[in-house]
């Protein structure tokens, strides 16, 4: 999810709530369609291409994002082609996954996250969900930063250790990362308490409590 998408196209300027709704509807539709609905899949694919053009997104950008996420999607599917009737099912699942991902890539590239949160809140999304999303978004970047620092520290001292040693150090680092995140979580909670946090208060100051 990008930070502040500049309003470069009509799709960027569209109300994020509509985009969110459309993206969810698109993905649901894809999961419900049978393999025979060839016409629909073609139409959906064309619509995606049209939206890409409309949002002035570069095909390379889309491809890069898809390739980055695709391995995670393919992993659970690897055994399917070897079952009876597998290849057809594999093709269908692959198509669905690809199109769903493509839909979400367009959505995230054209929508600013803070604006989306605001809109979701104005649509009476439970505050528990919007606050969780907001914290997740903020800490995603901190986590990425910690991973980057950890990697640098490992590489800086890996000398002639070879890739195996680096891998082992990074694996140990994952545990470190978990502990660091836990500690950070505690410090953040202290900072929240210091500013009067007593559960979830809604924007209007009503007293919707978490516990």
């Amino acid at each position: 999810m990008n930070g502040k998408a500049p309003a470069v196209s009509p799709l960027h300027r569209l109300d994020p709530a509509w985009k969110f709704g459309a993206a969810v509807a698109g993905v649901l539709l894809l999961t419900g369609l049978p393999a025979g609905a060839r016409g629909f899949f073609i139409a959906y694919g064309l619509a995606l291409l049209l939206l890409t053009g409309l949002a002035r997104l570069s095909p390379f950008y889309i491809l890069k994002k898809l390739l980055a996420i695709l391995p995670f999607l393919l992993l659970p599917l690897v055994s399917i082609p070897f079952r009876p009737g597998g290849p057809a099912l594999f093709r269908l699942l692959l198509l669905r996954s690809l199109f769903s991902l493509y839909t979400l890539v367009i959505f995230s590239a054209t929508t600013s996250f803070p604006v989306l949160l605001e809109r979701l809140e104005s649509l009476r999304t439970p505050r528990l969900i919007t606050v969780t999303l907001a914290l997740m978004y903020r800490y995603l970047f901190l986590m990425a930063g910690e991973v980057e620092r950890l990697k640098r520290a490992v590489l800086a001292r890996s000398g002639r250790g070879g890739s195996r040693a680096i891998l082992r150090a990074l694996a140990g680092g994952t545990g470190q990362l978990f502990i660091r995140s836990l500690e950070r979580g505690e410090r953040v909670y202290q900072a929240m308490l210091s500013r009067g946090y007593q559960g979830l208060t809604s924007k209007a100051g009503s007293d919707e409590k978490l516990d």
């Binding site: 930070g3 903020r138 970047f141 900072a191 929240m192 210091s194 500013r195 924007k203 209007a204 100051g205």
Partner: protein, 235 residues
Amino acid sequence: MKSLIELRGLSYAYPDGTRALSELDFRICEGERVALIGPNGAGKTTLLLHLNGLILPQAGSVRVDGLEVKRANLPELRRRVGFVFQNPDDQLFLPTIGEDVAFGPRNFGFPEAEVVRRVASALERVGLAGREEKLCFNLSLGEKKRASLATVLAGDPRLLVFDEPTASLDPAGQRQIAGLLSELDLTMLIASHDLVFIRKVCSRVILLDGGRIHADGPAGEILDDGGRLAAHALV
């Protein structure tokens, strides 16, 4: 002068039995800007965490602005004490600065129009006027520190507590924070190792080491005593 912080016989030991604070007694009057100095592990942060009840006193008592630090007073205490943590990434946890600065006032139950007004005014006081929409992770460290200050100013506190406000800042950033704090007409307790900064901002210094107070007096007097500072690993 009305005393804003009053410690009487405050002691604290960690769960493993290590004594962090031993029978501390002192008063800080309204309007004073006091530095808390001492080597690493002296107990500075533990002491600060008592002031808004993030740690409750085990023995002795702490009073802030006439309120005793105890569970029943926590909501009111947290409104009156603005606590700025050392690492701004712990303090700024929402996506945009505006949202983050609004967090305190919203928790304190102010109506939305008042929240918006407070956010704008707090950001203006730290030199970040009109930057409500800016994303927190895109800020420089100096900006993050100032935004952290804004998050507590928006609650209109009676006392400001800082843990290492100038740590890892470049000299220009340190000067900027020193300038900002000097202009604020508020009582402050600042834990810091930055003696240059303390000279600029604080009139009184308390030296803490091993959980005990080793000196308490005018900043100039204590900071000029090179022998004593060296004895406590401060120079």
